[in-house]
């Protein structure tokens, strides 16, 4: 089933954003001086993962840096306990709210740790080249080789199951089911990012082409979601699972996932049309609100019900590369490619 964005059926891009509500004066700026690749919260502390070596703990009046890697930080994942980072130094490092660190793994061949993901009961997954590693909460380590380099990892919301995106499809792996052959979801092409819907019914990948691919897991039915102007690099479900928000277009594209068929046969909702392209999306942890970062540095909060917008950050010098919500949804951390960023209190 094909679903395609039909351009221009919403507001025009000449929409006068100057009249929108603004909270730009409630943003405390930070300076990371390296590309920001992740924006998370540990307890109430905003933590920015910098593209090189360090994490920036940005408590008001008390900014401090914690070195994590001796090189580039390639991917990051976080839960309430810690931030886990993979580096080009071949290490997987977990950093907690106090800044204390644990080396989860050191790759034997010092390969880049391209991807990390956090799973249930303290499980951590990472990948180097074609190999995916999982360390269970009990500290047992398991590995699985994919047919090509691993391009994305995501744990299922229920059970202990990991989706591994690669060329020509996704492998679904139960790391604790020793001997059982992993399930393969096949679709020609290079699959990059991967995400489960919150109810676990759907799996969606971002592709090398400007499109998404999806599967309904119950019957393997395919979904193609296209119409983007660029490769989709960020996707995120709303808290209630009703919409999948995506980057890659000059507006936020939200695919409806409420019905049993997901977006099949439905039009996506298009919000916040802009002259610049959406680079990052982050859905509010409770409300039907999505934060969108743009290539021109602007950040908007958009209410999905009526498309109402609040300007959080004006266009700046560099693309927005990371957005992260505090667990209570009162604070948004913003990071950009040039290391600039901020913390917005709503």
């Amino acid at each position: 089933m094909d679903c395609r964005v039909k351009p221009g059926n919403d507001k025009s891009v000449t929409d006068t954003r100057a009249t929108s509500a603004s909270i730009t004066d409630r943003v405390r700026p930070i300076a990371g001086d390296a590309p920001i690749v992740g924006a998370h919260f540990l307890a109430s502390t905003p933590v920015f993962v910098l593209g090189e070596q360090e994490l920036l703990f940005a408590d008001e009046g008390n900014e401090r840096r914690v070195a994590a890697h001796s090189g580039a930080i390639l991917e990051t994942a976080a839960d309430e306990r810690h931030i886990v980072t993979g580096g080009d130094d071949g290490k997987v490092i977990a950093t907690d709210a106090a800044g204390a660190q644990q080396t989860i793994a050191v790759d034997a061949k010092k390969r880049w740790i391209d991807h990390v993901a956090l799973g249930p009961e303290g499980a951590i997954a990472w990948s180097a080249g074609k190999t995916t590693f999982v360390r269970t909460g009990k500290g047992e380590e398991r590995t699985l080789d994919a047919p090509s380099t691993v391009a994305g990892l995501a744990f299922a919301p229920k059970g202990f199951r990991l989706a591994i995106a690669h060329y020509n499809g996704v492998t679904l792996w139960f790391p604790n089911a020793a001997g059982a052959a992993p399930e393969k979801l096949e679709w020609k092409g290079s699959h990059l990012g991967v995400a489960f819907s919150p109810d676990g019914r759907f799996l969606v990948t971002t592709m090398q082409e400007p499109m998404l691919h999806g599967w309904r897991l119950a019957d393997g039915k395919h979904m193609r979601m296209s119409g983007y102007s660029a490769r989709v690099r960020s996707l995120n479900w709303t808290a209630d699972g009703a919409f999948l928000a995506t980057s890659g277009s000059e507006q936020i594209i939200l695919w409806p996932y409420e019905g049993k068929d997901g977006p099949m046969g439905k039009q996506p909702r298009l919000l916040a049309p802009s002259p610049s392209r959406v680079s990052v999306v982050a859905c509010h942890p409770q409300q039907p609100v999505v934060a969108a970062g743009f290539v021109d540095g602007m950040v908007l909060l958009v209410r999905i019900d009526d498309g109402a917008e609040i300007l959080v950050r004006r266009p700046g010098d560099a693309p927005v590369t990371a957005l992260g919500w505090s667990a209570d949804g009162t604070t948004l951390a913003i990071g950009c490619e040039d290391g600039s960023g901020g913390i917005a209190r709503l």
Binding site: V37, G51, L74, S148, K188, G189, Q208
Partner: protein, 350 residues
């Protein structure tokens, strides 16, 4: 891909097994140029590379889902360049060394197809190292070797000390039969001036100034003293008739170039549909193409280039007073239907 000074230049180093790619790479890295490089090598590389930032690649060639079988990209390059950009400022340029059996096209196409890669980096040139002694044999038995020669912007004929001057002239003529447009350098132990290899801007639309066959400008006087200074300026009054013992002329049976020229102004409404249809049908066989075009009633020169089915073009600059408003296009490829291309091109006249 127009010039943007903040884009990191990427040089692609190809060449058949044993031709001397790694020797050239180490020579580039060890020159006292003060530049820092990020080097992407294939994971089966055996010889040590003396550089701080070396990344192993697996040469994963991915087909794109756009209905075009020749539209392939190097998936590993997309990933690695994304990762390297986290360390922007730590290096000035990237060198990608391919395996001896690699086709350069997917590497080049990655820079056209992936928006993120194209936004951060620019393809500088494809540099092919050829073995003076063995290239002739490889051109017969290894299609990869022929692709690498056909695709190149710069060709280093290495190990010239292992062949006689006649053998060298012969291998040069065979290279010219496939690719008359690349810059050619003769070396021992890959000793070449670094600025003949790096900073070529061969894929920069602004630099498509001259698509004359290069051998018109080269030093072919038969005194092949090594490490001589190659001219940095072309067409500097050389006596083109004095080709020493004379350059042999070969016709390669399956890889050729087709060069066309017309002084009639072209119609853009005829040219673009024609060239798009041509690359759609012949794209798998067309390795590269370039052109400088004069459209009717258009005060600007239009330039374009392509790799297989991917075309990239833009207005370059106004035609100068007194400049001959010729349109010239060049295709390098396999079994090209020259007559059909010629007729099609001529039919694009306004």
């Amino acid at each position: 891909m127009t010039a943007q000074p903040d884009k990191i230049p990427v040089t692609v180093l190809t060449g058949y097994l044993g031709a001397g790619k790694t020797t050239l790479l180490n020579r580039i890295l060890s020159e006292p140029h003060g530049k820092k490089f990020a080097v992407i090598v294939n994971e089966f590389g055996e010889i040590g590379i003396d550089n701080e930032l070396v990344v192993n690649a697996d040469e994963e060639v991915f087909e794109m889902n756009n209905g075009c079988i020749c539209c392939t990209v190097r998936g590993d390059l997309v990933r690695i360049i994304d990762g390297l950009m986290r360390r922007k400022g730590k290096f000035d340029a990237i060198i990608v060394e391919t395996t001896g059996l690699a086709d350069p096209a997917p590497v080049a196409q990655t820079f056209f197809v992936d928006e993120q890669v194209g936004a951060k980096t620019k393809l500088d040139a494809v540099v092919t190292v050829a073995d003076a002694k063995w290239l002739k044999d490889r051109l017969k038995d290894a299609p990869e070797a022929k692709n690498q020669i056909a695709f190149a912007d710069v060709i280093i004929i290495n190990k010239t000390d292992l062949v006689t001057p006649d053998e060298l002239a012969d291998v040069e003529a065979r290279i010219r039969a496939i690719n008359p447009y690349a810059r050619l350098h003769r070396t021992e132990r890959a000793k070449v001036q670094i600025d003949e290899v790096l900073g070529r801007n061969a894929f920069d639309l602004d630099r498509i100034l001259d698509i004359e066959p290069q051998f018109l400008h080269e030093d072919n006087h038969g005194h092949h003293h090594h490490d001589h200074d190659h001219h940095r300026d072309h067409g500097n009054g050389h006596d083109h008739d004095s080709h020493g013992r004379g350059l042999k002329h070969y016709h390669d049976e399956d890889m050729q170039s087709v060069a066309l020229r017309t002084d009639k102004a072209l119609s853009p409404d005829k040219f673009f549909p024609w060239v798009q249809d041509l690359v759609a049908k012949e794209g798998p066989n067309i390795l590269r193409c370039k052109g400088i075009l004069s459209f009717k009633d258009d005060p600007q020169r239009f330039v374009f280039q392509g790799v297989h089915m991917i075309l990239d073009g833009d207005h370059q600059r106004p035609w100068k007073d007194g400049e001959a408003r010729d349109s010239r296009i060049v295709f390098i490829g396999r079994n090209l239907p020259e007559d059909k291309i010629r007729q099609g091109f001529e039919a694009c006249a306004a």
